[in-house]
């Protein structure tokens, strides 16, 4: 009997967890050993970060202990990869150990690089992790009017719709508190529209106009001056603020660059249809770790995992898998108080941004439950 193939998955976030659980459901433990390496004690459902600053959701329901999220038969090692040698098929770990693999799936995500923008630390706020979402809730509590500036500082960043989702919820929050007329909302975006995809940008722009939200396009943040409360773009525009909510610059993991799997950006160049790294048929990357031209979002990792788990399961069992990954993503985004819009798209097919509905909002509202009970478990 042949030894079981060892699949090592680096990362215990959405991409790594979904991938491990899907593959476990598709393969028998006698033929596949699945090892996940990660160091997160808690798994946070990041999309709830747009609700938490407005106290619309209790954060406790958005967090689960990581080690309980893996299906039976997935080995979870609490450690951190410090280096990858694809020629030797080994991964070095922080503990001093190393591990070999037959298949390696890199799902190490990305990170915030606050130092990229002088003046960011201590001055700008954001809602891209739980701690900062909770801090922002306190800051909004004591906000009584003024000028709020919101936007992504640069591209790429996680969950591209999140800044506009937050802005719609902020507009509603300020109206409910009776201080919308004392507040200017300014929205900045790095491109010459308010979103990456043109038809979604047109849709969102119309809703911004209806709500009196002022936009600044082609605005890539260069620096922040906390003394005179000004954010300056590379393009030379200065915008004053009283409260600055700015998505921090993102980068891939330093370990990826140090392992020479990517350049300074840290994002891994993978085949857009096979998700494989260079000519290696045993090294793959999924989720936020790649430089694919699609959203950095759990929804992307979900679709990528569906393809890759099937491909690896077929290969291990000696079968051919003819399908490819074509950039499919589906995500539901908030477009106002009690309204949302579901977008389906792929590499070649832009989303249709045509209507928003209460039903879509309910889908979004319950997505943490769907995520933890179904999607993350690999059964959706």
């Amino acid at each position: 009997m042949l030894a079981a193939k060892k699949v090592v998955i680096l990362g215990d976030g959405a991409a790594g967890t979904i991938m491990a659980n899907k593959l476990r459901m598709l393969t028998h433990s006698s033929e596949t050993r699945i090892v996940v390496i990660g160091n997160s004690k808690k798994h946070y459902f990041k999309p709830d970060g747009v609700h938490i600053p407005f106290k619309l959701k209790r954060y406790q329901n958005s967090v689960k202990p990581t080690r309980f999220l893996f299906n039976y038969g997935v080995e979870y090692i609490f450690d951190e990869a410090t280096g990858i040698d694809v020629s030797q098929r080994t991964v070095r770990l922080k503990s001093g150990n190393s591990t070999s693999y037959d298949y390696l799936i890199i799902a190490t995500g990305d990170r915030f690089d606050y130092n990229e923008i002088p003046g960011y630390i201590g001055e700008a706020r954001h809602f891209y992790d739980l701690q900062h979402s909770l801090e922002l809730a306190n800051i909004l509590d004591s906000f009584n009017g003024g000028k709020i500036v919101i936007g992504p500082s640069s591209i790429p960043y996680q969950c591209p719709p999140a800044p506009y989702e937050f802005t719609f919820l902020l507009d509603k929050y300020l109206r409910d508190r009776g201080i919308r007329d004392k507040t200017e909302i300014h929205y900045t975006f790095p491109l010459n529209r308010v979103f990456t995809m043109e038809n979604v940008a047109n849709f969102v722009n119309r809703l911004f106009d209806e709500r009196g939200i002022i936009t600044h396009t082609l605005f890539n943040v260069e620096s922040i001056n906390g003394l005179n409360k000004t954010v300056t773009s590379i393009e030379g525009e200065d915008v004053k603020y009283d409260l600055l909510i700015m998505v921090p610059p993102h980068k891939g993991q330093k370990m990826i660059t140090d392992s020479e799997l990517a350049g300074p950006s840290g994002y891994i160049d993978v085949d857009r249809h096979k998700l494989s790294y260079k000519d290696y048929d045993d090294v793959f990357a999924i989720g936020d770790a790649t430089n694919l031209p699609i959203s950095k979002a759990g929804a992307t990792a979900h679709f990528e995992s569906e393809y890759l788990a099937n491909r690896i399961a077929h290969e291990i069992s000696g079968n051919v898998y003819d399908e490819t990954y074509n950039g499919e993503v589906a995500c539901t985004t908030i477009t106002g108080a009690g309204k949302a819009m579901t977008l389906y798209f792929s590499y070649d097919r832009p989303p249709r941004a045509e209507f928003q509905s209460k039903m879509d909002y309910l889908l979004k509202w319950t997505s943490a439950d769907t995520y933890f009970s179904g999607m993350l478990r690999g059964i959706m």
Partner: protein, 80 residues
Amino acid sequence: MAEEIKADKVVDARGSFCPGPLMELIKAYKEAKAGDVISVYSTDNGTKTDAPAWIKKSGNELIKIIDRNGYVEIVMKKVR
């Protein structure tokens, strides 16, 4: 014969999709010094409008847009 402008930095963003080429151009701009000529190659249709809009707004100089075989080349000079 038209004079060829020699770029100090060439960004080959062919195969990359919007907003990749523009972001690559901005990255090269940040690393360049005033007076440098930067050339970006792109196969994405959006670059033909996005990049000139960015060059104009950022106060730099658009030197030319050249339709090559299967891609577009946009040449700019860093002014500020």
